[in-house]
């Protein structure tokens, strides 16, 4: 509770009167001071009672535009707040959005009409979540004011903080700030193996190796210039981890095996190339991209954070790839042209019509564009895709195709649970693990 300016002045006068009464031993001053104090206290009790009545009448109902949003996308929130006003008490309602969200537009503060009977106030605004995870609203804040006092009450019960907003992670599509140039990269680490490729020239500094002095340039400019050498290097492979959907059953043993394989691969690659890029997807959803991470500890910490079943906001429902559909249509056409039996031709014609119909209706998915944009940030020759292969795997074609278009060798590793009595399948990928060595 806060005293307003008028009440602060009255309290000061009261203090002076009581002090005067005590100093002068004057009962009249005491009467004046004490009655003033009683009046202020009485007003406070009346105000408190009115605040309680208003607070008990508050009903809050919040609806979200969507229950599940991606990080960085806007979301419309509508809040209906019903309360019963009291005469002489002015109430200001403030809607409190969740923490780590950005208010885009709309009003979150409502000035109510004092003394009105039960009335509903509407608050509409848009927010942008800045972090992913389950976010709860902070509630609503009510500021009560009358002539003498003001009080702020924060309502954060379950009814005022609901519903929970699920924010999904967003893919990273920002333009790369890479030091790459013309598709090549120089290894500028100090190396005993200096080649003839000169990366740049700079002025001599005390301590530089005199064997690296470019005498011709130095003579031309009458200054000592040092050659900086560079060596060409190969690119580390990209690891793509297809996380299982948390809404469907999956083999935990196989997932644990996949984690250990990915961790081993990361460790090997870091030792060989000093950096690694890992792309986490879950079905046709890009979850996270670790771009050229050099620190092994940080890399493993990121793996620990992201390697778990993820929520999928988009599903493909076994959607075929458009290129596959086109090839199937071509295949039907060729087979139909060669077939002599009219029944087979009819069947092939029907198949072709079905495929054409699907191709006509099916649009190019946004996921393919997201994958292309994400991969365009990276320089790589090889990519390894880890997946459990459970449920719908049609998105894998959409990942593999753009990589193969860019002449990148892709190895798909389907991690399966090892069962007793079943021979362990040795795949080509296991042999290729030492690719960086």
């Amino acid at each position: 509770m806060q005293l307003r300016r008028c009440t602060q002045g009255i309290c000061l006068v009261n203090l002076l009167l009581i002090s005067g009464a005590l100093a002068l031993d004057d009962p009249v001053l005491l009467l004046a001071g004490s009655t003033l104090a009683i009046a202020v206290l009485g007003q406070y009790l009346v105000f408190d009672s009115e605040v309680r009545k208003i607070a008990s009448s508050v009903q809050c109902r919040r609806t979200l535009g969507r229950n599940m949003v991606r990080r960085g996308t806007s979301l419309m929130v509508t809040t209906r707040i019903t309360l019963r006003g009291m005469p002489r008490v002015h109430v200001i309602i403030e809607e409190l959005p969740p923490h780590k969200t950005l208010l885009m537009d709309g009003e979150t503060i409502i000035d109510t009409v004092s003394g009105s009977p039960e009335q509903t106030y509407l608050c509409r605004y848009r927010i942008i979540p800045l972090i992913h995870g389950d976010l709860r609203f902070s509630g609503i804040s009510l500021t009560f004011r009358n002539l003498f006092f003001s009080e702020t009450l924060r309502l954060s019960r379950q009814t005022e903080t609901g519903p929970v907003l699920s924010v999904l992670p967003a893919g990273l599509f920002q333009a790369p700030s890479s030091d790459s140039l013309e598709g090549t990269r120089d290894n500028r680490k100090a190396s005993i193996l200096s080649t003839v490729d000169v990366h740049s020239l700079r002025e001599y500094q005390p301590g530089d190796d005199l064997r690296h002095v470019d005498w011709k340039i130095s003579a031309k400019y009458n200054k000592m210039f040092i050659r900086k050498y560079s060596t060409p290097t190969s690119f580390p492979p990209l690891l793509i981890v297809d996380l299982p959907w948390c809404g469907a059953p999956y083999s935990e043993k196989a997932f644990a095996k996949m984690i250990s394989e990915v961790t081993g691969m990361v460790t090997d690659t870091l030792q060989s190339f000093q950096h690694i890029s890992i792309l986490f997807i879950s079905g046709p959803n890009i979850i996270h991209l670790i771009r050229e991470e050099k620190n092994p500890a940080h890399c493993l910490a990121e793996l620990k954070e992201w390697m778990h079943p993820a929520e999928r906001s988009v599903h493909f429902y076994r959607m075929p790839d458009r290129n596959d559909l086109r090839s199937m249509i071509r295949h039907c056409e060729n087979a139909g042209a060669q077939a002599r039996d009219p029944r087979i031709r009819t069947v092939l014609e029907t198949l072709k019509e079905r495929y054409t119909g699907i191709l006509y209706c099916q649009r190019n998915p946004a996921f393919a564009g997201q994958v292309t944009r994400t991969l365009s940030q990276l320089l790589l020759n090889n990519a390894y895709l880890f997946t459990l292969g459970c449920g719908d795997t049609s998105h894998i074609r959409h990942v593999v195709r753009p990589l193969r278009t860019c002449q990148i060798q892709v190895t798909v590793r389907v991690v399966e649970e090892v069962r007793e009595g079943r021979p362990v399948r040795r795949d080509t990928f296991s042999a290729a693990r030492g690719v960086g060595a």
Partner: protein, 157 residues
């Protein structure tokens, strides 16, 4: 057009009472109470559009209460009631039946305080009693506010 404002129900008896009490008591220095009454009325008239009007009315009213109480303690009590009624009416907080009940409650408590002051020889004893009463009320109120805020912040009261 009705120009009889609600605060006139208290202002008119206040003016009449102060004049009557001054005439009845006939103190040696008679003019402070009527002069402060005029000051109170003047501030009441002037401060209609001022912000924090209550503060100015209370300040001028307290001086009038002191002057009236110097003549007679019960005259001071009467002035307290009338000044309080004027301030409340001018701020629109004396309109409904519950408001009048609160005002009557205030009058009763101030009467008890006046009795306490009257039958005490010195200031210290009634002041101690009043301070203790205030502290108890504030203590109870602070506990109630704590429970109230806890209930609305999602905790269990």
């Amino acid at each position: 057009m009705n120009t009889f404002l609600p605060e006139f129900r208290f202002l008119v008896p206040l003016a009449a009472g102060i004049i009557a009490i001054t005439a009845y008591v006939r103190p040696e220095i008679w003019y402070p109470a009527p002069a402060l009454l005029l000051a109170f009325l003047g501030i009441y008239a002037v401060s209609r559009s001022w912000p924090d009007r209550g503060f100015y009315l209370v300040c001028s009213g307290v001086l009038l209460i002191t002057a009236a109480g110097a003549m007679n303690l019960w005259a001071g009590l009467f002035t307290v009631w009338m000044v309080a009624g004027t301030v409340c009416s001018s701020h629109g907080i004396l309109k409904n039946t519950p408001d009048f009940h609160s005002f009557l409650c205030f009058c009763g408590i101030t009467t008890a305080v006046a009795l306490l002051v009257k039958f005490s020889n010195h200031v210290v004893l009634p002041l101690s009693v009043l301070t203790a009463g205030f502290l108890i009320v504030l203590l109870v109120q602070s506990v109630r506010i704590y429970q109230f805020k806890k209930q609305y912040s999602g905790g269990v009261s």
